[in-house]
Amino acid sequence: MIGPLDIALIGIVGTMFLALVRALRGPTLYDRILAVNLFGTKTVLIIAVLSYLDGRDWLDIALVYALINFLAVIAVLKLMQNRTLSQAEPRE
């Protein structure tokens, strides 16, 4: 018996696979960062769906994962733009 949670799970896992292919193939660095960001958001969704499938409350983990994903993307972009993490303004 297929429920709605299974359909959502199939869609999320398929998208994670496609994002992984793009992260491995991406010609530029920004393609890879975009794909990793997509993968992280799908991880948040998959944790939420799995907590409903299992009946246990894992939504705190999903919330913290969303925070960490956002911070990681911003930190990597700042590192790429400034070549350092400790400067507020880009070097001239």
């Binding site: 709605p4 496609l18 010609p27 794909a35 997509l38 993307v73």
Partner: protein, 109 residues
């Protein structure tokens, strides 16, 4: 009756979310350059994540779980456009330009 309505709503929202996330993933894989891929990712992914989280809300599970789901939804709604904006700004600063008016092959060549 109301329970049945909520279950049908959960079916519809979770299926729509799965379809939209898959469309976003296919767009990220197939589009020719960074900016079009960013468009596919952020547009489809925002709608897909919203539908899946709202569909989970319709499945119930107690007030605290619905509150946490709405918190995740609010947080994704705040951070997803922000990271897309930062990504586009960083790509533009790096010298990448959207190739307007040219026909592109695979992987932007």
């Amino acid at each position: 009756m109301i329970a049945l309505a909520f279950e049908v709503l959960a079916w519809v929202l979770l299926s729509v979310g799965a379809v939209f996330t898959l469309i976003g993933g296919i767009g990220v894989l197939r589009f020719p350059d960074v900016f079009t891929r960013m468009h596919a990712a952020s547009v489809c992914e925002t709608l897909g994540a919203f539908s899946i989280l709202l569909g989970l809300c319709c499945l119930g599970g107690g007030g605290i779980m619905i509150f946490k789901l709405l918190l995740i939804l609010l947080f994704l709604a705040l951070t997803n456009p922000t990271s897309a904006h930062a990504l586009a700004k960083a790509a533009l600063h790096d010298g990448l330009r959207p190739p307007v008016g040219t026909r592109l092959g695979k992987d932007g060549e």
